[in-house]
């Protein structure tokens, strides 16, 4: 029937069997093996880093770690209590700035903006801002806040650090708010507007609550990322060997876990190095917990 082709005539039933020696099957197995090995390599760093952080960190965990100040160089003991507290303070400041601005911007993009050049520019800018190196954010905040002593005459301060971190959080918060609100069914929006609700009421009482879970997921993820950031803090929040005290402490330099790890990792003292590992342990536990929590929240939201 097909004189032009000889392909078919060569085929017999045995050809249907898997032939492991066939070049294409060898090629397939080889590439599968490579992909598997690559995946293994991709997972190894996490396992190695985590196990070192746990091994070196856990041994140093005790009550003093949370309640005492870092020791002076050459002395034993001490803790990182001020840095733990400082990380919380700076991260909270950053969150308090980033959430209203980010959620507000996200609401604008999802609920008000029409497809125009302005909203396109904002979306584009959000993505570009996400790509700005974090060290440049530090330089920026140093320039406009620290060196000008803009905030009631203080230079390096917890507030300056928080502002630098908030710039890093902003793109993520905007994007997740935008995307979360877009997931809300348009019918719901129409229904609310249809009974005469204003746009404000529709957003604050219908769409925003519906989109709560995805937005919260993104916000938590961005908080956990901000908590581990170092580069924007080294010349905004700086560091401190003392406890933050009173409301004034917001306007003073403040210790954070991440900057402590950086500073203590390059000191030649064993005690400081150990504290750096302990700080890493606490930071990683905190961040992974936040991550897993946001994942759980995300899964809850998709159900």
């Amino acid at each position: 029937m097909k004189p032009t082709l000889s392909l078919k005539s060569q085929r017999t039933a045995a050809d249907l069997c898997y032939n492991p020696g066939h070049s294409r099957n060898i090629f397939n197995r080889f590439l599968t093996l490579i992909a598997g090995v690559f995946s293994l390599i991709a997972v190894i760093p996490l396992v190695l880093v985590l196990s070192y952080v746990i091994i070196k960190g856990v041994s140093r965990v005790n009550l003093a770690l949370f309640t005492q100040l870092p020791p002076a160089p050459g002395l034993e003991g001490g803790g990182i209590g001020n840095a733990i507290l400082g990380t919380f303070i700076v991260t909270i400041i950053a969150t308090l700035i980033a959430i209203p601005v980010g959620v507000g911007g996200g609401i604008y993009l999802a609920e008000y903006a029409r497809e125009g050049s302005f909203s396109r520019f904002i979306r584009f800018g959000t993505n570009v801002l996400a790509g700005v190196p974090s060290i440049i954010t530090g330089v920026f905040v140093y320039n406009i806040i620290v060196s000008t002593r803009l905030i009631i005459g203080s230079s390096y301060s917890a507030i300056a650090g928080g502002m630098a971190l908030s710039i890093l959080m902003l793109p993520t918060v905007i994007k997740t708010t935008d995307e979360g609100l877009k997931l809300v069914s348009d019918n719901l929006r129409k229904g609310s507007l249809g009974v005469g609700a204003s746009k404000f009421v529709t957003i604050t009482q219908i769409t925003l609550p519906m989109a709560f879970a995805p937005i919260a997921t993104g916000v938590i993820l961005s908080i956990s990322r901000a908590a581990g950031e170092t580069a924007p803090l080294i010349f905004t929040a700086l560091f401190s060997y003392y406890w933050p005290s009173g409301t004034n402490s917001l306007f003073d330099p403040i210790a954070t876990l991440s900057v402590l790890i950086y500073n203590f990792s390059i000191e030649p003292y064993e005690v400081q190095n150990e504290l750096a590992w302990a700080a890493s342990f606490i930071l990683v536990v905190f961040i992974l917990a936040m991550n897993i929590f946001s994942r759980w929240l995300g899964r809850l939201a998709s159900k």
């Binding site: 392909l7 249907l16 898997y18």
Partner: protein, 272 residues
Amino acid sequence: MASTPSTSRQHLASDICISLDNVTINYNNLAAVRNVYCDIPSGKVTALIGPSGCGKSTILRSLNRMNDLIDGCSLSGRVLFDGANLYDPMIDPVEVRRRIGMVFQQPNPFPKSIFENIAFGARINGYKGDMNELVERSLRQAAVWDECKDKLNKSGCSLSGGQQQRLCIARTIATEPEVILMDEPCSALDPISTLKIEETMHELKKKFTIIIVTHNMQQAVRVSDFTAFFNAKALEEGTGKVGYLVEFNETEKIFHAPVQKATQDYISGRFG
């Protein structure tokens, strides 16, 4: 089993191409279609019809192991082709697909040039002949040559839906399979394109065994020599439905003298 087809199996056994022997297909341990016995004749067009959810597409996709792509899909029973059970662990599904080609419900040309769309399959099947000649011949057989001949280097996605589907048929022909499976090939197309594809099928059946799933009974009458009618019934366990083969016979008989009442009801439009 109640679903044993009423037609005697010997009756059709003259020249069997693919034989389904007590085939049951499960998705995640839930039966989708159950206990199918069917001998599909060689060199003919066989249509699989039935209401949606009756498992006709699932059966079709099982014939060249396309269901392997779906997680959690498993098959019990035997699918015999050329003396081998296609679900034997020794079988290479890639070999199976080279000899049993498939045309899908949605036209799915590769995002490559029209020429490459045809040449890709032939090349991986080890075709050593004149590629230009093969491309032209395949496109001619699929009745899409005239529309394509001046833009062989254009993307396959630039064609209209009907042309894309005929390009996909040409792509399948170019690999020289013995059997062509067609999964509702016209469901996404307009009536004129449908007509052209049906004309193409009349040409193709001279060379290939064709098995087509269609929900359009007129189409089954127009193109097929044999028809298998599938139906779905509620599972005894209570949840969901399971498909089964009701009746398999010459198309003529199925549509004019069906044995089963369900077939009669279906073809007269009483349900489905």
